[in-house]
Symmetry: C2
Subunit: 154 residues, 2 copies
DNA sequence: GGGCTGAATGTTATATTATAACGTCCGGTT
DNA sequence: AACCGGACGTTATAATATAACATTCAGCCC
């Protein structure tokens, strides 16, 4: 939920995420198959959203539907999120606990931080209500510079 | 900025929008050429975002780069906005006065309402600041049901 | 275990969205 | 008239995503 620092223990992120995914799938009675797990692992290789065809290439011998089906599964169970601006996918750090999608996206290093800001959500919900609009899903994507990249070239 | 009612005088929307575009281009010293104006007019045929290839077809005899170039121009001068979730484009009702992109998108009829909500912007800006993130651009896309479509099927 | 069934995956083809590269035309300037 | 730069035309191709159908596999009943 915070911005990942460049020297954090990312191996730990991966372990945590895969563990949480196992748990969430068990809880839901969903099957985290080999391909699905491999795709999830690849998504978690970094905190930068990754495109479907990059995943495809990393998988090696697969065809597009394979990776899109895995992505659909992971999206459906809240294990990853799609970043619309980038046509790319990023791991969700707190599956289960979902209201989808508020992201800070770094222009420079590409990494993403997921927010879960009740104030933002409330502000949009309120604006929607004032317009007589029944809100179903909300996407917030902010682009800019992460703390690390800001430090580098000010 | 409000949701367009089904029986509003849309011809007026178009006239207003084209007038404002002329004005804005004059102010900026930009050339609103024939193709660019025609694309803008097509975008304004409804309040539902329209895709590039639908525009292309409506234009008749053009090739993709023609419409994408026109869209790039219109985006650059704030005369239209891109809806990331839909890969589609919608007219901007208040060019010049821009902070880009907060939209309510109706699932049913497809129409879009552009917000300009300072509270939403402030909430995101604040969250960004707390994360040490330097905000450059903000995209907010809310999906749901507009007032008219809500009335129809409850 | 042997077959049944539905979910998951493989495979091929194609749709949809977007851009690269290069040539031509046209309007304004000198 | 010659020049220049921006706008447009044209062709090809890149990048993202899905349709349609065949095959395989896991779990279940017997
Ligand atoms: Zn990490
Ligand atoms: Zn960064
Ligand atoms: Zn209108
Ligand atoms: Zn509607």
């Amino acid at each position: 939920m915070n911005f990942p620092s460049p020297q954090h223990d990312h191996h730990n992120c991966i372990t945590q995420a895969l563990g949480a995914a196992e748990e969430e799938c068990r809880r839901r009675g969903a099957r985290l198959t080999d391909i699905r797990r491999r795709v999830l692992e690849l998504v978690w290789r970094s905190h930068a959203p990754i495109g479907a065809y990059a995943l495809l290439q990393a998988l090696g011998k697969a065809a597009p539907p394979t990776v899109y089906r895995a992505l659909d599964f992971l999206l459906a169970h809240g294990l990853i999120h799609r970043i619309e601006k980038l046509n790319a996918y990023v791991g969700c750090a707190h599956p289960g606990h979902d209201q989808a999608g508020q992201f800070l996206l770094c222009r420079q290093c590409g990494s993403a931080a997921e927010l879960n800001d009740a104030v933002i959500e409330a502000a949009v919900r309120d604006a929607a209500r004032r317009h007589g609009f029944e809100l179903a899903t909300l996407t917030v994507e902010a682009e800019g510079l992460c703390p690390a990249c800001r430090g580098e070239s000010p």
